[in-house]
């Protein structure tokens, strides 16, 4: 009888042919699909190989312990044979502090370190408004950072303890009322100024009191004379306070309760300390000024509009270096002789103006992108100008402009290296130049650029990632 074969179970599926799966399929499809692609792939592989072959020995032969470039070269030759090249990171090992702090005196390094840590504590409530989880992460990170770095920098016990108490307190507050953390953000500029430049503790306090006075006058006068005149009166009183009373009050308080930090002159600032001071201050102040300029440019009031347009077009029309030379050279001619107007302050002011002009145009782009209906809806609700801007227009306009705003910030931060042209010690050119002027390190080329470049990359990449996070978070449409 004939046997019949019937399959009682399914065969296990065979794997696809070897050319249709895994890495081979991917390579066939992506690297070797056409003759042109094959040629390009081979070429690319050759270039990559050539780059690695050229650079890898240099990285592998790195020297970390030497006292001069000549010694580095000897060590490399001894280890890798004559003619070999190697990176000489010993220079970074000896001079890293000048790249970070410039000439800031070593016993006071804890001050910029602390100010840098607190910067994040102050930014967190703004960057992650009301989000307990993110706030806790950031503040926890700041706490760990401060414990480690302040210990390494040998900070005195009192400020060490105080700053830890402050951060722990903020951590606790973040759990209960995260909104209140903004108070620290408001106080931070004065605190940072005092930490970095030192001097009497009363100078920042009395200067901040000027703002309190401004607010008090505004509140008291506004029912009597109306909003705008009250604001004007407040500003006048505050300016009088800053110009004429400030110094006397500081001296008086300092006489009664002498307490302060060692004064540090601006010329001792350098490296990334300088870049971050200029960059962060410029970023902080250019955003509100930029918003006001953008609104001014759209205003119906002739004077406001023409002033805004004039400012924006003038500042955007000249290169940043011109403004820096103005800060460094021209202002000295205009001011009375003997005036000691701090060079870093002058540079910060002009860098801020420069960034503000660019931001104003970026934000104007955001304003222009809003449908007209939004403006009309705000009017229909009976909101006055400022409420309409604050509640309806600006939140949408700023959201649209986030990528461009952050681009401007990154550009501003990188532009801080241009201050080298007015004799300030920026990390890229200023510090590198003084290191190379040392006979021990003369002739060193790539190492300082790589070191500085990596730090710049980390900071700018961080900013860019944050902007992407913010865009995702604020995304309300369903595209």
């Amino acid at each position: 009888m004939a046997e019949s074969f019937t399959r009682s179970e399914m065969l296990p599926p065979l794997p696809p042919p070897v050319t249709e799966r895994g890495a081979i399929k991917w390579m066939r499809e992506n690297l070797f699909s056409t003759p042109l692609n094959i040629a390009l792939t081979v070429l690319g592989a050759l270039v990559v190989y050539w780059l690695i072959a050229a650079a890898l020995p240099w990285w592998l032969n790195s020297v970390w312990n030497a006292s001069s470039l000549g010694e580095c070269r000897q060590i490399v030759e001894a280890n890798a044979g004559p003619g070999a090249t190697g990176a000489c990171w010993a220079m970074i090992r000896e001079r890293w502090h000048q790249f970070l702090f410039g000439f800031y005196p070593p016993p006071e390094w804890w001050r910029p370190i602390l100010a840098f840590g607190l910067l994040f504590a102050a930014l967190a409530p703004v960057l992650f408004a009301g989000q307990k989880r993110n706030l806790t992460i950031v503040l926890g990170g700041v706490l760990v950072y401060l414990v480690v770095t302040l210990y390494l920098a040998g900070a005195p016990a009192l400020p060490f303890a105080l700053s830890l108490v402050l951060i722990v307190g903020m951590l606790a507050l973040a759990q209960i009322q995260p909104g209140r953390l903004l108070w620290f953000t408001l106080l931070y500029p004065a605190l940072c100024f005092w930490l970095l430049w030192g001097g009497s503790v009363w100078s920042p306090i009395v200067a901040m009191a000027g703002f309190a006075i401004l607010y008090a006058v505004f509140r008291l006068a506004s029912p009597l004379i109306g909003l705008a005149p009250a604001a004007g009166a407040g500003i006048v009183v505050a300016v009088v306070w800053w110009l004429y009373l400030d110094k006397t009050v500081v001296d008086l308080l300092q006489g009664v309760l002498p307490f302060g930090l060692q004064s540090i002159n601006s010329d001792q600032f350098g490296g990334f300390l300088l870049a971050i001071v200029i960059g962060v201050t410029g970023i902080t102040f250019s955003l509100p000024i930029g918003i006001l300029l953008a609104l001014g440019r759209q205003s119906d009031m002739l004077i406001v509009k023409s002033l805004s347009v004039g400012f924006i077009e003038f500042v955007r029309g000249v290169p940043l270096i011109t403004l820096l030379f103005t800060a460094s050279l021209l202002l000295q001619y205009f001011l009375p002789p003997g005036t000691n107007f701090d060079i870093i302050l002058r540079v910060i002011i002009l860098v801020t103006f420069f960034a503000a002009a660019y931001l104003a145009e970026v934000i104007r782009g955001g304003l222009a992108a809003l449908p007209r209906g939004q403006y009309e809806a705000a009017d229909a609700l009976g909101l006055d100008y400022w409420r309409a801007q604050r509640l309806i227009i600006l939140p949408q306009a700023l959201k649209i402009s986030i990528p461009a705003i952050v681009s401007t910030f990154i550009g501003l931060f990188k532009d801080t290296t241009l201050v080298a042209f007015v004799g300030l010690m920026d990390p890229l050119k200023g510090v590198t130049q003084i290191v190379r002027a040392d006979i021990n390190w003369k002739g060193i080329y790539w190492e300082p650029y790589i070191f500085v470049g990596v730090i710049f990359f980390v900071i700018c990449f961080g900013m860019s990632r944050y902007s992407m996070y913010l865009e995702r978070k604020l995304k309300t449409d369903h595209r």
Partner: protein
């Protein structure tokens, strides 16, 4: 009303402070600190070390002036100035004195209203080539590629030199010294030209210094010296004579180490006047009588300053050459101190 008061006050402040602008000497004394414009970093002539202390040939002259005027060589603040900002910084009063390897030229004296009060280093532009190029004179550099920093007088000197000798060259322009050294070593140019002192410093730090030679031709005069503002002659005199004091000290064998001893024992009348043991030469400058003694005690005589920073025995290893004293065939010559 408010506005007119404001502008009135502004005008008054300007006027008062303008009138209050005293001589530089009084400013420095009142401030208790000398503001010295320095290079942002030039090997051997002025650069801060790892702990931020400035050292160098130009820096020592600043310290000598500070010692003469204020009695303390450390009461000086070095203000780094770039090639673009240096003269304006001096004119606007941001620095009291500029000692920053600046070449004395007629237009800087006249047009920029500056005073070069002395020449503390006679430099000149030279060429460095690789030995295996087989060139022994700059005149044989016909058709060579030359690395040259842009925007400097060296660029103009180079063009003049090649034109005069009827030979051609191909310029490779670079931004600064380190770039030039890198291009030259990488073979992007046959010759590298800049001031001879800079060439020596570059050569000293090359991995294969023995394969490079500095050609004998010096194609320009670069007298480098301290600069002060035009019109404040008392201050200019002080800087000039502080420098001369260092020269006279070398001539008379007064050193940092033996200055006290010489002061006590010397019978040489000029030395006694210089160190303030007789006469009132210091007071005539508006300074302390021991001013020049302080300057010598702070940095040593000219020869010591030279030897310590750039002279033979240091890595840079420059010979005295034109900067030897006139008694030894050089150009450094101080008028009599009387």
């Amino acid at each position: 009303m408010k506005k007119s008061v404001f502008f009135g006050a502004l005008a008054a402040t300007t006027l008062v402070s303008g009138m209050a602008l005293a001589g530089t000497l009084d400013d420095v004394k009142a401030r208790g600190e000398l503001l010295c414009g320095s290079n942002t970093g030039l090997t051997g002539f002025g650069n801060p070390d790892a702990s931020g202390n400035w050292t160098g040939f130009d820096v020592d002259l600043c310290r000598a002036v500070a010692a003469a005027v204020l009695g303390d060589p450390n009461k000086v603040k070095f203000v780094p100035t770039t090639g673009e900002t240096r003269f304006t910084a001096l004119q606007s009063g941001e620095v009291d004195l500029l000692v920053r390897n600046s070449t004395w030229t007629s237009s800087r004296d006249s047009e920029l209203a500056l005073d070069f009060v002395a020449v503390n280093y006679y430099d000149g532009q030279g060429f460095m080539v690789k030995k295996d190029l087989g060139v022994s004179s700059a005149k044989e550099l016909d058709g060579a590629t030359v690395c040259i920093q842009t925007g400097t007088t060296t660029e103009l000197n180079l063009a003049d030199f090649f034109k005069q000798n009827n030979i051609t060259y191909q310029p490779v322009t670079v931004a600064d010294d380190s770039e030039a050294q890198r291009q030259y070593l990488a073979g992007a140019c046959d010759a590298y030209t800049t001031d001879a002192s800079g060439l020596a410093a570059s050569r000293a730090t090359m991995p294969d210094a023995e394969n490079h030679i500095i050609l004998p031709e010096i194609i320009s005069k670069e007298p480098l010296g301290p600069v002060v503002r035009h019109g404040d002659n008392q201050w200019g005199d002080i800087v000039r004579w502080t420098f001369f004091a260092l020269l006279i000290a070398e001539e008379k064998g007064v050193t940092k180490a033996n200055v006290e001893e010489v002061l006590a024992s010397s019978a040489d009348e000029e030395v006694k006047r210089l160190l303030g043991a007789s006469g009132d030469m210091g007071v005539k400058f508006g300074l302390d009588n021991a001013a020049f003694k302080n300057a010598i005690a702070a940095v040593g005589n000219y020869g010591e300053v030279f030897a310590r920073n750039i002279g033979e025995g240091t890595t840079i290893n420059l010979a005295r050459g034109l900067n030897a004293l006139w008694t030894q065939g050089g150009l450094q010559y101080a008028p009599p101190f009387r």
